[in-house]
Structure formats: structure tokens, C-alpha cells
């Protein structure tokens, strides 16, 4: 069944590319090519669901022009889950794109690249050998680079963002290629099944793990490899950034899960410690950056870094617990990682799509210039608010379930019998602290994003004139936001579907349920529907009292109830996003290292009368400043020096080619 739908998927995707290239007229192209892309995604959803449920199927083999190399696609359960996720996000993003893609992103190349992007993302989790995986990976990287470049003629910043993105994604490709190369060299074949025969405790396996973690870490946006994320996401068109953030970066998480679950299961404990530390660093730093950023899309990009950090943390915890001989808790941690992936796909798609709607409706991405959008864009506000609920991991949302499972697995990691390894005794409390800080700061971040953009009074004329986007662009984020709550309220169904993946490697069975989640061996059970019922029951007396009181004393509305006694408090006197996070900026001064520049202009002849005060607070990414700037400077210097060997003389180039041929001959002779 899976293979049939994979073929259908491929055909639909190819037709979508042809339609995008061939059809004249932007409207027809959007409807036909966009519609076909939606169908491509839908076929992938079915194929993924079938693979996730464990339906047996024959591998799909595609011959290539190269002799002896063929592409093989046969997703297992883990691959099926990610195929389902990326395809589902693809459906939502393409549907929204039909309404929202205008200009360059709705051009021939725009739609063709989007269809290829989706096909590439689907090929990665479906692949069953290294060559097919890398083919899909490179297709995805190249097509998404083209999509990030779409609006390069409009804004100068797009070019630099695309350059950063292209360099980082090619570095990622090279590292993964090297990692698979090490495994292929050791096992003598390129299929994933043969990689699993490599001894996990050999030096080669550890090299492969490090290379693959670095390669996948770039795609996940793990700190310090995250620099491309806050540049590329904001510059891409809305539906592209939704697909990149909700689906593509998650394939990095798939890569790591593939490595530690399928290719090299039961690896040494230090792998887990590395992943856990990397994840904790990304989660903490990502959410800190997100909390002090006032550009809405940059904020969402940093929050992606945070979410993927949590996923890496959960994967690391699972690996550590596996090594400590606690398979049931390790299974729970792996389940948490997968639930985090599912939840992040739903809420981040909704958040990026609504951020795009805000950008369309107001032309602004800067929270400091927004405000009062709830009254002007009610459906967008609803979708953003609901998705932000999931992003802040509040009860009844999918994010909450995922974090609950993660915390349960972390607090059960060090039993009171004193036989937990000492490294666990330090690492797990730190992990709990980081997860908690992340949860608290993400509440701060998303209350800021929602409260400043959608509540209060408009802070600029553009925000005052905001309007809702077309129908389709309003509905798609609402669907994604509804999924956040569906997954949050009926998590048992999802957890039982994911159960076989987690127990397949660790042993034991996962209970099958619908509305609640039970973690076997952890004495922990959660039924979010009951929590919601409890809250609803508590609402009843409050609502009755409100209605009774409203009948006796109806509310009055006024332009300004009090304003602390101020008569004219303009909209500019409201708190902005920057002022909202000033306390957090001060508290985390050492980590964020902001630079403050205060320029005071005095009135003429007076040291006391001030005419104007200008404050510049810049919060540049310190990882970029301290790590990447010296690196790019070094590369620049090498480039300048390398120019010396190219002086334009044809004689010199002939000598170079002669020398190159000679070296090749010597090497070949030496090997034979």
C-alpha cells in the first residue's frame, strides 16, 4: 500500500512541477500547481500513515542513469511518521500558498521549486538507503534555497540570508555525506539495514555519530549551528517559511532519531550526554533570543531553535537512559521527542502562516509597530492565539502533552535507590531546570507576541488599517490551530500510534488508548480531557455569577477608563515588545550581551533642558559575533590569498593542469 501511494505521490509531484512551468497566468498556475501540490502532500500523508501503522509493503526502486546505483524508498514506522508530518505540513502550506503567493513566490519557478521542495522532504524519511536519503536531502536543500531567494528583488537582506542558508545547508550535506561514508566504509554497503551491522562501540561508529549529529544539527538549528535559521525564515514567503520551520528542520530531528534508533541503536552513554547538552543549550539560548526579539518572524525562528533543542534533549535523555539500563523510561523519553515533533509541526505551521497574514494585512513584521489587531483581524488572532497556546505548552494543547511526557521521563531517571550513574544525577536535574526555564520563557515570549500584536491600541497607521487576508489564507491556520488542540485533547490515539516506534528498540509493549496517556513503568497517567472538563465545570459558577451581575450592573465602555490619571495617553505610551522584555534582557544580560547607546540632545544653551533622547538597544546574536565573524574573516583572508595563484596567464594554468594529472597518476599508481 505504501509503495503504491509513493508512486502516486511522485507522479502528482512531477505533474505539479510541469503545471507550474507550463501554465500561463498567475491565477491558473496558483490553482492548478498549488492544487496538485496539495494532492502530492495528501498522497504522502496516506503513504506515511500506512507506514506508521506498520503495513508491509514492497520497496519502491527507481533506477538511475548511473550503473549499479538505484534509489530505494521503503519507509519504516519512524520514517512513516515523518513522511506523514512533512506531507501534512506540505498540504497546509501549499493550500495557504494558493491564496497568499503573489509576485515572485507565485511565479513559475516559485511553484515548481515548492513542489520539488515537498518531494525532496518526502524522499528523506521514505529513503531506505544512504544514496536515496542524500538525493532527497539535496533536492530539499536546493529547492528551499531557491524559495528563500524568491523576493530578492524587493529586499536587499534576502540575498545575504540566502547565502548564509546555502552555505550552512551545503555544510550540513557534506557532514552527513561524510557520516554515511564512514558507516558505508565499515559495513561495505549503503543500505540502512547494513549500517545497523556496524558495532556501536567501535571508533568508526562514534565518528559517524559525531559527523551525523553535526550535519543534522545544522538543519535542526541547534546552537551554535543555528545562525541560518533567524535569517532564512523571516525572508522566505509565508507558506515557505511555514514549510521550512514546521517540516524541513524536523527532518534534522528525524536524522538524529534515525541514527540512534535504527542505524546505531544502543550506543554508548556519552552520545546521549552530548545530545542532551546540545539540546539544553539550544532550548535555553533559543527561547532567550526569541523572548527579546521584536521581529515577529525572527521570534518564531528562534523559537524553532528552542523546540528542536527540546527534541534533541529528549533524544539524548532516551539514549542516556537506554545506556543506564532503564528501557521503559528511555521509551517514554523517545515518545516525548516524537510528540514534540508532531506538536511542533501543528503549531509552528499555524504561527508562521498567521505571521504571514499579519505581514500581508499591515506590511509590518515589527511587533513595536503593531497592536490592536484582534479587532481588525479576528480569525487570524484566533488562530495565532490558539497556536501560541500550544507553543507555550499550556494545558489542553499538544505542546503540554509532549512536555509532560518529557518531564515525567526526566524525573524518573534518577531513582532514590542511589544506583543512578553520577553523570545522570547532574545532567537530569539540569535538564529539568532548562525545560522549566524554557516553559516559563516561552509563556513570556508568546504572551508578548500575542499581547503586543493583537491587543491594546494600534502603534502605527499600518496596524490601524489592517485587514483580514483572503478566505483560504484565514482557514488554513485555523485548521492547523485546531489540530494543536485535537492532539492535546486526544493524545492517547497519537501516543499509541507512536508506541511501537519507541518500544521497538527498547523492548516491552506500549498500551493502546485513545483519550489518555499512560507511561508504562512510570506510574504516570494523564487524561487531558478530564482536565478540560474540570476547567469547564469551574467556569460554570463563574459564568453564572457574571451573567447575574451583568444584569444588575451592565458594563460601560470608554476610550480610556483611567490611564493612571493621564488625560491624553497616546498609543505610543503603551508598552512595546522591546519594553516588555526589558526586564528579561537585564536579567540575562550576561548571555545576551546587549549594547545600549543613549544619545541626548540638549536644548541650546542649557544643560538641563533636553530636546530629544534617542536610545538604541541592539541585541546581536553573540554566537554569531564571537564565533562566526572570526570564521568568515578567516575564510575571506584565505580567499584573498588564494587569488594570488590565479594571475590570468594561460601558461600558468597549463602547468596547473599538468601537475594535477601527474598527482592523479601518482596516487592511482600508489593505490594499485
Amino acid at each position: 500500500m505504501t509503495d503504491g501511494f509513493l508512486v502516486l505521490d511522485l507522479v502528482l509531484g512531477a505533474v505539479a512541477v510541469l503545471a507550474a512551468v507550463g501554465l500561463p497566468g498567475a491565477r491558473a498556475r496558483a490553482v492548478v500547481a498549488g492544487g496538485l501540490t496539495v494532492l502530492t502532500g495528501a498522497a504522502g500523508v496516506v503513504a506515511g500513515a500506512a507506514a506508521l501503522s506498520g503495513t508491509a509493503s514492497a520497496p519502491l526502486r527507481i533506477g538511475t542513469a548511473l550503473p549499479g546505483i538505484e534509489l530505494a524508498f521503503q519507509p519504516d514506522r519512524l520514517g512513516g511518521l515523518f513522511l506523514l508530518l512533512v506531507s501534512g505540513v506540505g498540504v497546509l502550506a501549499a493550500a495557504s500558498g494558493i491564496a497568499s503567493a503573489h509576485g515572485p513566490s507565485g511565479s513559475r519557478s516559485g511553484w515548481a521549486a515548492f513542489a520539488l521542495f515537498l518531494l525532496g522532504m518526502q524522499a528523506v524519511p521514505a529513503a531506505s538507503d544512504a544514496a536515496s536519503f542524500l538525493f532527497g536531502w539535496e533536492l530539499m536543500a536546493a529547492a528551499s534555497t531557491a524559495l528563500v531567494l524568491a523576493e530578492h528583488a524587493q529586499r536587499a537582506t534576502v540575498g545575504r540570508a540566502a547565502l548564509w542558508y546555502a552555505v550552512m545547508s551545503q555544510a550540513s550535506f557534506a557532514l552527513i555525506l561524510a557520516g554515511f561514508g564512514v558507516l558505508a566504509g565499515k559495513s561495505g554497503a549503503t543500505s540502512f539495514a547494513s549500517f545497523a551491522a556496524v558495532d556501536q562501540h567501535s571508533a568508526a561508529a562514534s565518528w559517524a555519530f559525531c559527523l551525523l549529529t553535526a550535519g543534522f544539527g545544522i538543519k535542526m538549528g541547534l546552537v551554535p549551528l543555528h545562525v541560518w535559521l533567524p535569517r532564512a525564515h523571516p525572508e522566505a514567503p509565508a507558506h515557505v517559511s511555514a514549510a521550512m520551520s514546521a517540516a524541513m528542520v524536523k527532518l534534522g530531528a528525524y536524522g538524529i532519531a534515525l541514527t540512534i534508533v535504527r542505524l546505531l541503536p544502543h550506543g554508548p552513554a556519552w552520545w546521549g550526554a552530548v545530545l542532551l547538552a546540545l539540546g539544553a543549550l539550544s532550548a535555553g539560548y533559543g527561547i532567550l533570543r526569541a523572548s527579546v526579539t521584536s521581529d515577529l518572524k525572527v521570534l518564531l525562528a528562534y523559537s524553532t531553535s528552542e523546540n528542536l533543542g527540546l527534541i534533541a534533549l529528549a533524544l539524548g535523555a532516551s539514549e542516556l537512559l537506554q545506556a543506564a539500563g532503564q528501557p521503559q523510561i528511555a521509551a517514554a523519553a523517545l515518545l516525548a521527542a516524537l510528540l514534540l515533533c508532531v506538536s511542533h509541526a501543528a503549531f509552528k505551521a499555524a504561527l508562521f502562516l498567521t505571521a504571514g497574514s499579519v505581514l500581508h494585512g499591515t506590511g509590518e513584521r515589527d511587533l513595536d509597530r503593531l497592536g490592536g489587531l484582534q479587532a481588525r483581524m479576528p480569525q487570524t488572532a484566533l488562530a495565532f492565539g490558539a497556536a501560541a497556546f500550544g507553543a507555550a505548552a499550556l494545558p489542553a494543547s499538544s505542546g503540554f502533552i509532549a512536555e509532560w511526557v518529557l518531564l515525567q521521563s526526566l524525573v524518573h531517571a534518577t531513582p532514590a535507590d542511589g544506583r543512578a550513574p553520577i553523570i545522570d544525577v547532574v545532567l537530569f536535574p539540569v535538564a529539568v531546570g532548562v525545560v522549566a526555564l524554557t516553559a516559563g520563557l516561552s509563556v513570556l515570549t508568546f504572551v508578548k507576541a500575542y499581547g503586543i500584536a493583537f491587543l491594546g491600541r494600534p502603534r502605527s497607521p499600518a496596524a490601524a488599517d489592517a485587514h483580514e487576508p483572503p478566505l483560504l489564507e484565514r482557514i488554513v491556520p485555523l485548521v492547523a490551530a485546531a489540530l494543536v488542540f485535537a492532539l492535546g485533547l486526544v493524545p492517547g490515539a497519537v501516543a499509541s500510534a507512536l508506541g511501537p516506534i519507541t518500544t521497538g528498540t527498547t523492548g516491552g509493549a506500549h498500551p493502546s488508548e485513545v483519550i489518555g496517556v499512560t507511561l508504562p513503568g512510570l506510574d504516570a497517567r494523564l487524561t487531558p480531557l478530564w482536565v478540560l472538563a474540570l476547567a469547564a465545570a469551574a467556569l460554570v459558577p463563574a459564568v453564572i455569577a457574571t451573567v447575574v451581575s451583568a444584569r444588575r450592573a451592565p458594563a460601560r465602555s470608554t476610550a480610556l477608563p483611567w490611564g493612571s490619571g493621564g488625560v491624553l495617553t497616546g498609543a505610543r505610551m503603551q508598552y512595546t515588545a522591546t519594553s516588555f522584555t526589558e526586564p528579561a534582557l537585564r536579567v540575562f544580560d550576561d548571555v545576551l550581551a546587549p549594547t545600549r547607546d543613549v544619545a541626548v540632545t540638549h536644548a541650546a544653551e542649557s544643560a538641563y533642558l533636553v530636546e530629544r533622547v534617542r536610545v538604541d538597544v541592539s541585541t546581536e546574536d553573540i554566537v554569531e559575533r564571537r564565533l562566526y565573524r572570526p570564521l568568515t574573516r578567516l575564510l575571506d583572508g584565505l580567499g584573498v590569498r588564494a587569488r594570488g595563484i590565479q594571475n590570468g596567464s594561460i601558461h600558468r594554468y597549463l602547468v596547473y593542469s599538468f601537475a594535477a594529472v601527474a598527482v592523479v597518476l601518482v596516487v592511482v599508481a600508489a593505490i594499485r
Binding site: F400, G433, A542, T581
Partner: protein, 311 residues
């Protein structure tokens, strides 16, 4: 069925005690400071007076200004039902992580109200409130971690049960460290001295009061009652962790004792809180992180010790 009845009983008891708790704290403080005070029933009278008045709302506030205060008080009420306060039998398992996240939810309602007002002070209060909330979170969850290690479960009823069976757990170094961390977290979360001054009249130092500064009538009642319920429930939780006796094991006649024990513990702790607050001044906002960092260290030590030294 009996679980539902105990839940309703708990909600009613907390609704009665919460304003009284605030009244006791204020009266004890007043007496210690040489004032007469307005009497322990004054919070009740305030709420009743405000409930009769028509609320005045800002025009640009929209639906949120109607809904957020009601949702806020409902989540606080849900928190009162969720915790094992009168009885260890709760409607749904009192998982501490669920408790913490319901608490987060009830803390967001006033912040959104503050931002919806469209003035400077509302935003200021919301900003400070959420910053402190974010910093309290690690302490809370690490304290939960420490409490859950001896029983192997984060279910509060099980934790209370273990404490009744083995009172040594309460005074063990781990128990004391976790409790100290929890108390600091509760004070910060409940906006009490030295983190926030609940009786301040100076807007620039306000945290909780600044968020509700534009609210009036029943909106203000719900916000105030919500925060009173939350504080009282948390104080009662601390009381139950220190003195787990008197909490009924299930439904039945033990509930009467449970109600009396709960009221006694809560009001006693209210007196202790008042005495402590008389001797404390509000610390600067940017010194609060230092206090909270200290509490994180206490909680971390509690976890590390309990994992290494078998209880």
C-alpha cells in the same frame, strides 16, 4: 461520585477561606504595626462592593476583557479542586506537573488583561509578572522533582500519603531543602513581600496591582478573587506538605476533620506570613532574580542529594 463531591466541597471551602486568609494576613500585619486594621472580613466586603458596581472597560479591549477575568478565576478554582487539600481523593490525579501548568494558565489571564488595556502600566505589570513567572518555573519544577523522588511518582496524593506513613521524609535534609525552595516559589508566584508589595500605592513599584489597574467592577473581583484563591491554595499545599495529618484519606466523615485542619493550617500560615512580612521590605525588581537563583540552587541540591543518598 464521592470524588466529585469532595471536589465541590474543596472549591466551596477555598472560596470561603481565600478572602478570609487575606483578611487575617492584613489584620495581623496591622496589629503588629500598631494599627487597628479593617478587620478580617474586609476583603469579603470589598469583593461584594465591587461586584455590585458596573465595570468600566476600554473600548479597544474587545472580547478578551470580558473573558479573561472569568477564565482566570475559573482556572484558579480548578486549581483548588485539583489539589489534595481537604481529602487525598481528587477528581483527577493531582499530578504536580498538571498543577504547575494550570497555575501558569491562571497567571496569564491578568497579564493579557493588562496588555489589552492599552496603557503603560498594564504592560509594565504584565512584563514584570511574566518575567518573574519565568524565573520561578525552574524552582517549582525542580522542587516537584525532589518531592517526587522518594515516592517515584509526581502524584501529590501519593506524596502526601508517603509523608503520613513516613514522617521522617518531612524533616529529612532533602525534604527541608525542597520545602524552602517551594516556599520561595510560592511567595514569588503569589506576589507577596519581598518580591511584590501587595499594599503598594506607588505605580512604579507595582507588579500584580499594575496589571489590574484599569479593571473595575466584577472584572476586578474575578482577577482579585483568582489571585487570592491561587495564593490560598498554594499556601494550603505547603501546609499539607509540612503537616500532612488531618487530610482525609477519602470521602466520608473524615472530611469534616479535613476542612477544620485545612482552615487551621491555612490561617496559621497566614499569621506566619504576616509576621514575616512585617520584618521585610520589598527588594528591587532586579534583585529578585538573585533570590530566585538561590531557590533554584536549593531545589537542585535537594534533587542531587536524594538521588545519591537513598532515603
Amino acid at each position: 461520585m464521592s470524588a466529585v463531591l469532595t471536589g465541590i466541597l474543596q472549591a466551596i471551602v477555598l472560596l470561603l477561606i481565600a478572602p478570609l486568609f487575606i483578611g487575617v494576613v492584613r489584620t495581623v500585619k496591622a496589629r503588629l504595626e500598631g494599627r487597628v486594621g479593617a478587620g478580617v472580613l474586609q476583603p469579603w466586603r470589598d469583593l461584594r462592593k465591587q461586584l455590585r458596581r458596573p465595570p468600566v472597560r476600554v473600548e479597544s479591549g474587545g472580547m478578551l476583557l470580558y473573558a479573561a477575568p472569568v477564565v482566570g478565576v475559573a482556572t484558579s478554582l480548578a486549581l483548588c479542586v485539583l489539589l489534595p487539600l481537604v481529602s487525598r481523593l481528587t477528581i483527577i490525579p493531582a499530578d504536580l506537573f498538571v498543577v504547575v501548568s494550570v497555575m501558569l494558565l491562571s497567571a496569564i489571564a491578568p497579564a493579557l488583561v493588562g496588555l489589552a488595556g492599552g496603557t503603560a502600566f498594564g504592560g509594565m505589570g504584565a512584563s514584570r509578572h511574566l518575567t518573574i513567572l519565568a524565573l520561578v518555573e525552574p524552582t517549582l519544577l525542580l522542587a516537584v522533582y525532589a518531592l517526587s523522588i522518594p515516592t517515584g511518582s509526581s502524584n501529590l496524593s501519593a506524596i502526601l500519603g508517603a509523608r503520613i506513613d513516613r514522617p521522617a521524609l518531612i524533616v529529612s535534609p532533602v525534604g527541608l531543602l525542597a520545602l524552602a525552595a517551594l516556599v520561595i516559589a510560592v511567595i514569588a508566584e503569589g506576589a507577596r513581600l519581598p518580591v511584590d508589595n501587595p499594599s503598594t500605592h506607588l505605580e512604579l513599584t507595582m507588579i500584580h496591582e499594575a496589571m489590574t489597574i484599569e479593571s473595575s467592577g466584577r472584572d476586578l473581583v474575578w482577577l482579585e478573587l483568582g489571585s487570592q484563591l491561587k495564593l490560598t491554595a498554594l499556601v494550603a499545599l505547603v501546609g499539607n506538605l509540612v503537616l500532612p495529618w488531618g487530610v482525609a484519606a477519602g470521602a466520608g466523615p473524615g472530611l469534616a476533620l479535613g476542612v477544620v485542619a485545612l482552615a487551621a493550617k491555612t490561617l496559621l500560615l497566614g499569621g506566619v506570613l504576616a509576621v514575616a512580612e512585617v520584618g521585610l521590605a520589598k527588594i528591587r525588581l532586579f534583585r529578585v532574580p538573585e533570590l530566585l537563583a538561590g531557590s533554584v540552587v536549593l531545589a537542585f541540591l535537594a534533587v542531587a542529594v536524594s538521588a545519591v543518598v537513598p532515603a
